[in-house]
């Protein structure tokens, strides 16, 4: 466990050295500046749009961090040949993969937490400045705690994308890993269509194939509850729990395969 923690902390430190936290400043500037501009343009829908923008930006910044750091986690060590020094230390290959993954998840957690605080601060300011008659017209309260449900599922989705990136990173080049991870991200958001393939084709084989793909590919659209949360619609605890469990199970599966692939790689 200590070895995993050591690797994880080093990944986190490296991301700080790589100036990843700079995106937080960009996020804050984006939100604060847009909150003023949006207020002038949107006919009273500024809080809804700030929420949409904040949640979307959290997801996009997290996606970039997941993909662009995740794809280099293992392959960079191999390219720099630092993997030899690392594996000569008392760290097993599964511990190495787990540590790398945990470090990036820690980076993402800090990012998502800071972005959430920034989003709530901007929303708090808007609530403070809006008269009660305007607030009465909002679909959901400005400082709605339910936003945390969407943020939480964004984080689980980012954990899944990170696991995909780490998985590809164990056997592929960074460019190919980025392309494959992004491809799976896009496919994962179309996944729900595969489930209903029987509505558009008659072939039983095609339907079975599509249904199989639906279960094999990550179902990323399930993690998107942004619209519901912004409009104050219910997202049940049961849905959150099952979607989280699905995400964690998928992450575990990917990391196990990544470990398998990495354990069998020959670094002579």
């Amino acid at each position: 466990m200590r070895a995993v923690r050591t690797v994880a902390v080093n990944v986190f430190r490296e991301s700080v050295r790589d100036r990843v936290p700079y995106n937080l400043v960009l996020f804050a500037v984006l939100l604060i500046s847009s909150s003023y501009l949006i207020g002038q343009l949107t006919a009273g829908q500024d809080v809804k749009i700030i929420k949409d923008l904040g949640l979307a930006a959290t997801a996009v910044f997290g996606l970039f961090i997941s993909i662009f750091i995740g794809i280099g986690l293992v392959s960079k060590e191999v390219e720099r040949r630092s993997i030899y020094a690392l594996l000569s230390k008392p760290i097993s290959r599964p511990q190495f993969i787990a540590g790398k993954y945990a470090g990036l998840v820690l980076t993402l957690a800090v990012n998502v937490a800071v972005m959430s605080i920034a989003l709530y601060l901007v929303l708090g300011y808007m609530v403070w400045t809006a008269p009660p008659t305007i607030r009465a017209g909002w679909d959901a309260p400005g400082l709605d705690p339910a936003l945390l449900k969407a943020i939480f599922l964004i984080f689980i989705e980012l954990m899944l994308i990170t696991a995909i990136a780490v998985f590809f990173s164990t056997f592929s080049t960074p460019i190919l890993s980025a392309a494959l991870t992004f491809g799976l991200f896009v496919a994962g958001h179309f996944n729900a269509d595969l489930k209903n393939f029987d509505r558009v084709v008659n072939s039983r084989a095609a339907v079975l194939l599509a249904r199989g793909a639906y279960h094999v590919l990550p179902d990323l659209s399930a993690f998107d509850v942004k619209t519901q949360v912004v409009h104050g619609l219910p997202v049940t605890a049961g849905y959150l729990a099952t979607t989280t469990a699905y995400g964690l199970a998928y992450v575990a599966g990917l990391l196990l395969i990544a470990t398998l692939v990495f354990s069998n790689r020959d670094f002579k």
Binding site: I38, L41, T42, A43, G44, Q45, K48, I49, D52, L53, L55, A56, A59, V60, T133, I134, A136, G137, D139, F185, V186, H189, F190, L220, S221, F223, D224, K226, T227, Q228, V230, H231, L233
Partner: protein, 300 residues
């Protein structure tokens, strides 16, 4: 040159270059003005479903972009006025896209209900599109009484179809949390649909909305109704006392004959016009209440 002086020179040179770029941009825009109106009128993708697919999980943000475009389009055409010949062609497609991308965008439906049905130049005068948008809202949120009410209002105010309006008000009354005035309103619509008081009551309800633009629109409509009452009274007086033969109708003549003490003003303080041939009073084209809704003029 010391490193410090070199850095300072680089910063100054960069600032000069950026300044030159801005100056060139201003000079180019002044010399070769670009036709931005043309760019605004283009809607590259009209299928909401296609955009929904393309935006992956960011459809809500895309809906915000289309909402802002809808507001800009409406505001731009309204400010341009009838002289510019703009007729809100993109208002319905933009609102349709907005609500396809975010089906719970309540304000987009209600904005469309009010302004799509508004006659030109206040809107495109397409109550059919208002109803289409509201029907779309009802499919997504069938328990929201406001959408049924808005459909009823469009049938009442724009189509003057009191039977259908009453039916929609009854449907609104059947929804949870519906206000208790909807049932008597539906009944009144069936028995006395042409009553201007019903229109006033409906606009008064809309004037209590949380949305400032809905309140402003309702307040203007209430002033128009007030102007219609005044015009009816003035028309009656003028019809009873026609001018001497050979003389045309005019405010000066009516004041001279002591039928009026001064030129009457509409509720915004703008003098009314009078038709010299018929003596009919009307709202001046300079008045903020112009143009008056023709449908409402036919209400009693």
């Amino acid at each position: 040159m010391t490193p410090r002086a070199r850095d300072a020179a680089l910063v100054v040179a960069a600032l000069v270059m950026f300044g030159s770029a801005v100056a060139l941009q201003i000079a180019r825009d002044n010399r070769y003005p670009r036709d931005t109106r043309q760019a605004e009128k283009i809607l590259y993708v009209r299928s909401g479903e296609a955009i929904k697919r393309m935006t992956l999980s960011f459809d809500a943000l895309a809906s915000d972009v289309y909402w802002i475009r809808a507001i800009q389009h409406y505001g731009g055409d309204r400010l341009a006025g009838p002289e510019a010949g703009t007729k809100y062609q993109l208002l319905y497609p933009l609102l349709d896209l907005t609500t396809t991308l975010d089906p719970y965008f309540n304000i987009a439906y209600r904005f469309g209900a009010i302004f799509l049905s508004e006659g030109y130049p206040g809107g495109p005068g397409r109550p059919d599109q208002s109803v289409a948008l509201l029907r779309k809202a009802i499919v997504v949120m069938p328990r929201k009484w406001q959408y049924y009410h808005d459909v009823g209002f469009v049938y009442y105010w724009r189509f003057r179809d009191y039977q259908t309006a009453a039916l929609w008000f009854q449907r609104a009354a059947a929804q949870p949390n519906a206000p208790n005035w909807l049932t008597p309103l539906a009944a009144a619509m069936l028995t006395q649909g042409k009553d201007r008081a019903a229109a006033r009551f409906l606009w008064q309800q809309i004037a209590q909305s949380e949305e400032p633009w809905m309140r402003r629109n309702a307040e203007r409509a209430l002033l128009q109704l007030q102007a219609m009452d005044q015009i009816d009274r003035y028309d009656a007086v003028i019809a009873r006392f026609p001018p001497p033969s050979g003389e045309q109708y005019s405010w000066a003549g009516l004041i001279r004959r002591r039928l009026f003490i001064r030129v009457p003003l509409d509720p915004t303080g703008t003098p009314y016009d009078i038709d010299p041939a018929t003596g009919r009073v009307s709202v001046s084209s300079q008045s903020p209440l112009f143009p008056m809704p023709q449908e409402a003029r036919q209400l009693q």
